[in-house]
């Protein structure tokens, strides 16, 4: 147990410190980094899904006025490491997926670069490709682990036997679509090599972590860490897709090395983000649930089929939340993968928990209906005393309280459980509920430096603000740790010249960086007392010994949705969406609310709109822009509320924070699906839910 920091600045809804600069447009993002006479880079992408590049004719491109260089798979420098095949840019003529980069152009302007890229003529020896995920494929395989290191399969007891003898069972297959992260700011880099030839590289990059990014770039390029600086003061969203560097960062560095001393700018186009920047695998979830007449689970199982790229394995941990969510003596989770000729999938907001809280949470709704038990009550009846998987006690678990408070706030009490019977004007009306969960994590490596300068405390750490509010929340933690007013603290982040920091991922950012800051503050006070001299400084890392291993630590939540379905057209609208979360200490209610409602909206978007359409004939996502890949817009969001419990968890870290970036997306789509069923009586088990599925059953 750690001594929880006394909240004074923490808990205040301070406005964003970077807000004015962002609103005025003076906050510089990676692509906007001021540079003298920058060169622009454009990419040449494979138009076949599998095969080999046999020839590349660059003459027309090179003849164009303003073209500085053309680099292809046949002429590119050899990288120091090709261990990570995703990052082995231009190292092979083999094409592993449609959209793979086979060349790049450098030019004086971005228009010229793009025109020249279009003029590069690539000839292929095209091979048949395989890009279709189906549960009945005979080549599904069992990965060794699922992201980031979980057991692939788990089993306890006998699910089949429990299913055979239970009072009630649900046994259905659910599916989630392919999703692309689509942060508003594209993946973008400004890269500059020192002209002196001593091999010093600066990358202004849109990344969720400057140090992790630097480590990867150094490995790929074979550079020592102190030869590379990564800078990312402001990032326009990442949702996991900027959590690890993708090939665009390597390409920017390679392109800039062609023109040492000259900055090179490379931003992916929106279309390129659909093949080069990661995405979430589609999932097919076979879910089985068994219960007695009172709704007590005797079995819960999820068998997941999903995909990975042949280039690099990524096994999304979709089944993992089923291992710990509810009490059940018999449990089974499995993951099977199809390896396809497709781009590399990767992290997207709550990998695992996001898709994995869809099928099971809809199955519970089906079970509740079959048993005539309220779906809130059904979940409460299956509350486990301890973590069912590890047997560890919970560091804190307030799912039941979230369900109860949510039901109260939403007006759930007295709900008519019958589906398809409420009509208001031209609308069929229904309500639904689902649980949310996300593990509480803290990363290993983070160090903070605190320096007393000119009467204020400067806190330096290479943390990231990807829109989450770090510029504002980290000073709040530092102020409380130093016991000074928050105005006396200046935080400097987003640069590898500051001490090492972990990635803004896994909702672990503030947990990790804040812990480092608290350690540094305590050490600083221990060394210098409360009256330090100018220039006194202290650098301390996260105290690994303080990491609690004896508890299962998770944030929980409950989401309630009202869905309305147009009785004429089947159009689905969600006028009310309410979440209650128990996610530890909330450092800043203003920025926290933004993260909760943002993630809930992303869950709504997943439920009704987002759907990357892969054309298996060509092997690429054909709706690869924001006009065709629909994300929920303002008009889709009605009364959207995020609330939270005042939860004190002494086990997680010194702040008592659990991380809030991802939990809001988990369970949201299930709550929408359950509400649509309650409105219409149509149980849609495949996302997204669109009017096509409802039309045949409308009155």
């Amino acid at each position: 147990m750690t001594e929880l920091l006394e909240p004074r600045a923490m808990g205040q809804g301070l406005v964003r410190r970077d807000g004015v600069a962002k609103v005025r447009g003076t906050a510089t993002y990676a692509f906007e980094t001021p540079a003298e006479r920058p060169a622009h880079c454009a990419l040449v992408q494979a138009t076949v899904a599998r095969g080999r590049v046999t020839a590349i004719d660059t003459a027309a491109a090179e003849a164009l006025d303003g073209v500085l260089a053309v680099v292809t798979v046949f002429t590119a420098e050899r990288l120091a490491s090709v261990e990570d095949a995703e990052l082995a840019a231009l190292q092979t003529a083999e094409v592993a997926f449609r959209g793979q980069v086979v060349g790049l152009v450098l030019a004086e302007t971005s228009e010229t670069a793009r025109e020249a890229a279009d003029l590069v003529e690539v000839t292929y020896d095209e091979q048949p490709h395989d890009s279709e995920l189906r549960a009945d494929r005979d080549d599904l395989y069992t990965p060794e682990k699922v992201n980031p290191g979980f057991e692939t399969d788990t089993a306890e007891g006998d699910v089949a036997a429990a299913m055979a003898t239970a009072h009630a069972t649900v046994d259905h297959t659910y599916s989630t679509a392919t999703y692309h992260n689509n942060p508003l700011e594209p993946h973008a880099t400004t890269a500059l090599w020192d002209p002196a030839g001593d091999g010093f590289l600066t990358l202004w990059d849109s990344t969720q972590g400057v140090h992790p990014s630097r480590a990867t770039v150094c490995q790929v390029l074979g550079l020592p860490q102190d030869h590379v600086q990564v800078v990312a003061p402001h990032v326009g969203g990442g949702f996991g897709s900027k959590g690890t560097p993708h090939v665009n960062v390597v390409l920017a560095a390679m392109a800039a090395r062609v023109l040492p001393g000259r900055a090179v700018k490379l931003a992916l186009t929106r279309q390129q983000m659909f093949s080069l920047a990661g995405y979430r695998t589609p999932t097919i979830q076979h879910v089985q649930v068994a219960a007695d007449a009172e709704g007590r689970l005797s079995a819960i199982a999820i068998d997941v089929v999903e995909q990975t790229s042949k280039v690099k394995e990524f096994a999304e941990q979709t089944g993992v939340p089923t291992r710990m969510m509810y009490a059940s003596p018999n449990r089974r989770t499995t993951h099977r993968l199809a390896a396809l000729d497709l781009p590399v999938n990767s992290w997207m907001r709550a990998p695992g928990e996001c898709p994995g809280m869809f099928g099971p949470e809809v199955a519970l709704d089906e079970l509740a209906h079959d048993l005539g038990i309220d779906p809130v009550e059904l979940r409460i009846r299956n509350e486990p005393e301890v973590d069912p998987e590890t047997g560890k006690p919970w560091s804190s678990r307030h799912l039941v309280e979230c369900l109860r408070e949510g039901a109260e706030r939403f007006g759930w009490t007295g709900r008519d459980p019958r589906p398809g019977v409420r009509r208001e004007g031209g609308w069929l009306v229904g309500t639904g509920v689902a649980s949310s969960v996300y593990p509480t994590m803290r990363m290993a490596d983070s160090t903070a430096l605190i320096r007393f300068e000119a009467g204020r405390y400067a806190v330096e750490i290479g943390a990231a603000d990807i829109g989450t509010g770090t510029w504002t929340t980290l000073p709040q933690i530092a102020a409380d740790a130093l016991d000074v007013p928050v105005d006396d603290v200046e935080v400097r982040i987003g640069d590898t010249r500051y001490p090492i920091a972990s990635v803004a991922g896994g909702s672990s950012g503030l947990n990790t960086w804040g812990s480092a800051v608290v350690e540094a503050a305590r050490a600083f006070r221990g060394e210098y007392g409360t009256d330090p001299a100018d220039g006194d400084e202290m650098e301390t890392g996260v105290d690994q010994a303080a990491q609690d291993e004896d508890h299962a630590a998770y944030a929980f939540g409950a989401q309630f949705v009202e869905a309305r379905v147009d009785a004429d057209t089947g159009e689905i609208r969600v006028p009310r969406h309410l979440g209650v979360f128990a996610a530890g200490r909330i450092v800043n209610p203003r920025t926290a609310r933004s993260q909760f409602v943002g993630a809930m909206t992303m869950g709504l978007s997943m439920a009704l709109h987002e759907n990357s359409l892969l054309d298996p004939r060509s092997g690429h996502v054909v709706n690869h822009d924001l006009a065709e890949y629909h994300i929920s817009v303002n008009a889709d969001v009605g009364d959207l509320q995020a609330h939270w419990l005042d939860e004190h968890d002494p086990w997680v870290n010194a702040m008592g924070t659990k991380g809030i970036g991802e939990i809001g997306i988990t369970g949201a789509a299930a709550a929408v699906a359950n509400a649509v069923w309650h409105a219409t009586g149509v149980r849609v088990r495949d996302l997204p839910i669109t009017l096509d599925a409802l039309l045949p059953s409308l009155p």
């Binding site: 228009e111 279009d118 279309q271 359409l613 060509s618 009017l691 096509d692």
Partner: protein, 333 residues
């Protein structure tokens, strides 16, 4: 993106003259053309900016109709009191389109000329008969949920995306065109083409022909008119299907009716068969459904890897019935 020359002529006559050369295109609001320039879908040699050359006024005509200059923005046209009172179907269609920002830029002359919409047309790495005649249609057998069920061909199954155009088709608007050989008037319902075996052309306009104004004929019945757009997303989405309808009902009998459908064909689809079935008959849901069935008799849904567009047939029926039902109720109480 291919470089092009940019011209800003002094008047429409000069604009038409310089745009006579093949490879010249007119730039209005640019909301569609500029996207296509960036994507390489449009590769003109010359872009002729006409944004300030045509009228930006909506004026009354002697016969009681309205005339909107080609430069009138979608926002301005939708907000015009006369349009809202006399042609509510048009105001509603305009406001159902795109976003506020786009409507502030898109023009009366340009909106109907946006190209048909298809993900394969917009992706120069895929075959497309519209972009590159003779290369084949990638949409057939691909993703077809947004595609046509009426009037499509083996060469192209794309749909026209404009909401405004559907209302104009229902209202029997007429298009004022200035071309190299002078002025002509094109009935709006004849402006757009079906794909046939040459989907490369969306309209009947010849090279160098410029829309200068849109005429709205007097149509008292249009005071009872409505536009119903069906879409997954509540805003900023093209129609899955849409219905523009003008209905005049007295004592339960249809006196006059004008119907156009959006999202179903390569052009705004004037539902003449349905109109014929309804005129002089009872204004009842059954009659509306029968009229829809009449109109959809030749509907040919497309299978697709995304589930296809078979749902559009019942969806058109339901949307048409609902729209006419509501218009009947508005008149008969």
């Amino acid at each position: 993106m291919k470089p092009f020359d940019y011209a800003r002529p002094g008047d429409v006559a000069e604009a038409v003259r310089v745009a006579t050369l093949p490879g010249a295109v007119f730039l209005g609001g640019g909301t569609n053309l500029v996207d296509h320039l960036k994507l390489g879908v449009a590769r003109p040699d010359l872009v002729v900016d006409v944004r300030t050359l045509t009228s930006r006024e909506v004026t009354d005509t002697e016969d009681g109709g309205l005339r909107a200059g080609a430069a009138v923005t979608n926002s301005e046209l939708a907000a015009d009191r006369r349009v809202r009172e006399r042609y509510p179907v048009l105001a509603q269609a305009l406001l159902a389109g795109a976003t506020g920002q786009l409507r502030n830029t898109a023009t009366t002359g340009g909106n109907p000329l946006q190209r048909t919409r298809c993900v394969y047309f917009q992706d120069v790495t895929t075959p497309c008969n519209k972009r590159e005649p003779g290369t084949g249609c990638s949409a057939i057998g691909g993703t077809t949920r947004n595609h046509a069920v009426l009037g499509a061909s083996q060469a192209c199954i794309a749909t026209h995306p404009s909401d405004m155009a559907v209302a104009l088709a229902a209202l029997d608007a007429c298009v004022q065109v200035l071309g190299p050989t002078g002025e002509r008037t094109v009935p709006f319902t004849e402006l757009h083409r079906l794909p046939g075996d040459d989907p490369s052309r969306d309209t009947v306009l010849e090279q160098g022909e410029l829309i200068t104004a849109m005429g709205l004929p007097p149509l008292p019945a249009a005071r009872t008119s409505a536009y119903r757009k069906v879409r997954d997303r509540a805003s900023y989405a093209f129609a899955l299907v849409s219905v523009a309808a003008v209905l005049d009902v007295r004592d339960g009998v249809v006196q006059d009716v004008r119907i156009a459908l959006g999202g179903v064909a390569h052009k705004p689809w004037r539902a003449t068969r349905a109109e014929q079935a309804l005129r002089g008959g009872p204004a009842t849901p059954d009659a509306f459904a029968a009229a829809a069935a009449e109109e959809l008799a030749d509907a040919r849904p497309q299978p697709g890897i995304d589930g296809g567009n078979g749902f559009k047939v019942p969806l058109v029926t339901r949307t048409l019935v609902a729209t006419l039902r509501d218009l009947t109720a508005a008149q008969e109480g």
